[in-house]
């Protein structure tokens, strides 16, 4: 289509530029038509080849530089965790604090063997899922260093509410040495620190297959988990049905425990979430009233502007021009 129209344009241009040719063309039409068809072939070919060149270079460029790049294979990325409808992540829902209590029980009885929770003090538990006395009793189970006494010796004292949770290992090196070189991450902020958050941790905890699929390479000392980037994870499956006994009678299935501990870890990462959401909806309520007010004020103030009518009265045609009435550039 493009080729044809451009040809037509070229032909008409030629006929305009040389009007003398037309008389020749009328005289010997046969020779004229052959040279014209040759020219048509030439420009057709030019057009086709340049189009091919353009398309080819663009596609070559896309092939070289335009495709999405993947630094890692899908196995190295890890499976994407399925998204679950978490109740506590809804905008108008708090944490389920009995689930927090269960989740902390799971953390204490299972996770805390390897994973620390060092950014949480015992006082945070009070009023969230523990009474003061329970939290105090829990704190007193661990021993902390005192300040140096008169002789410069550091003694041990039972923990207080203001103390932070103790790590299971003295330091990261001790943790690595005890876990085959793999460092169990601190869980205080883990739901914020991993892509997928709650979904990822839930999928990781419940996603261990009975045995690795055929063809999967699992290094010695590692376990196969498709959700873990690289699929080889130092942590073995930790949650089994009936591993803990909940005091409120909830049946401790693997997924129930995983759900509870994930909610607890989310609380550990965002203990302010309940207050944040409550304040947030108050702010939204007040702001929407203020927004409605400001809309009304705007309409009120602008009503003069919006309802006025501009009329142009042309001057009478033979009016005397006043000095200053003429618009000069």
């Amino acid at each position: 289509m493009l080729a044809r129209s451009s040809l037509r344009a070229a032909r008409s241009a030629r006929s305009i530029s040389s009007p003398t040719v037309t008389s020749d063309a009328q005289r010997n039409a046969s020779s004229q038509s052959s040279s014209e068809s040759a020219a048509a072939w030439k420009s057709n070919g030019l057009l086709a080849s340049s189009t091919l060149l353009a398309v080819g270079s663009v596609s070559w460029y896309y092939y070289q530089f335009g495709r999405p790049t993947q630094a890692m294979t899908p196995a190295e990325e890890g499976l994407h965790a399925p998204v679950h409808p978490w109740e506590h992540t809804k905008l108008y829902k708090t944490f389920d604090h009995s689930a927090l209590r269960r989740g902390f029980q799971v953390y204490r009885e299972v996770c805390s063997a390897c994973h620390s929770l060092q950014r949480l003090p015992y006082r945070k538990f009070v009023g969230s899922f523990m009474t003061v006395d329970e939290a105090k009793a829990l704190a007193e189970e661990s021993e902390y260093d005192t300040d140096p006494n008169d002789e410069g010796e550091v003694e041990k004292r039972p923990g207080k509410l203001s103390d932070y949770m103790l790590a299971p290992y003295k330091n990261d090196e001790a943790a690595r040495a005890a876990n085959n070189g793999a460092l169990p991450p601190d869980l205080s902020l883990i739901t914020k620190a991993r892509h997928g958050g709650c979904d990822y941790i839930f999928a990781l905890l419940t996603g261990y297959p009975e045995e690795p699929p055929a063809g999967a390479v699992v290094q010695s000392g590692l376990n196969f988990n498709p959700y873990f980037p690289g699929t080889g994870i130092g942590m073995a499956r930790a949650l089994y049905d009936g591993l803990v006994e909940y005091e409120d009678g909830t049946s401790a299935t693997t997924s129930q425990m995983a759900k509870d501990v994930v909610e607890f870890l989310n609380w550990a990462a965002e203990p302010e979430m309940d207050d944040r959401k409550r304040m947030g909806w108050k702010v939204m309520a007040v702001t929407s009233v203020l927004f409605g007010l400001s809309v009304w004020v705007k309409r009120y103030k602008w009503s003069n502007v919006k309802t006025r009518r501009l009329a142009y009265q042309p001057p009478p045609p033979n009016a005397q021009k006043q000095p200053g009435s003429v618009f000069r550039r």
């Binding site: 108008y92 829902k93 604090h97 969230s128 009474t131 329970e134 108050k282």
Partner: protein, 67 residues
């Protein structure tokens, strides 16, 4: 209508001290009432989920142990 507005004007707006006092007292009262109302709606939505809804179970245990 005019009578009501006139009454409001005469009783509140006419004297600046009364007007300002009314505004401040009204702001405090609105704040308190709004907070109470909003919190009660929030607690209604999240009934049974918050610590204050479930703490009775554990507080009760504590008292029995104390005895």
């Amino acid at each position: 209508m005019a009578g009501v507005l006139g009454g409001i004007y005469n009783s509140i707006v006419k004297r600046n001290a009364v007007f300002l006092t009314t505004i401040f007292a009204g702001a405090f009262a609105t704040n308190i009432i709004f907070n109470i109302g909003a919190d009660s709606v929030w607690d209604q939505i999240n009934k049974g989920r918050q610590w204050k809804d479930i703490k009775q179970r554990y507080m009760g245990d504590q008292e029995e142990e104390d005895e």
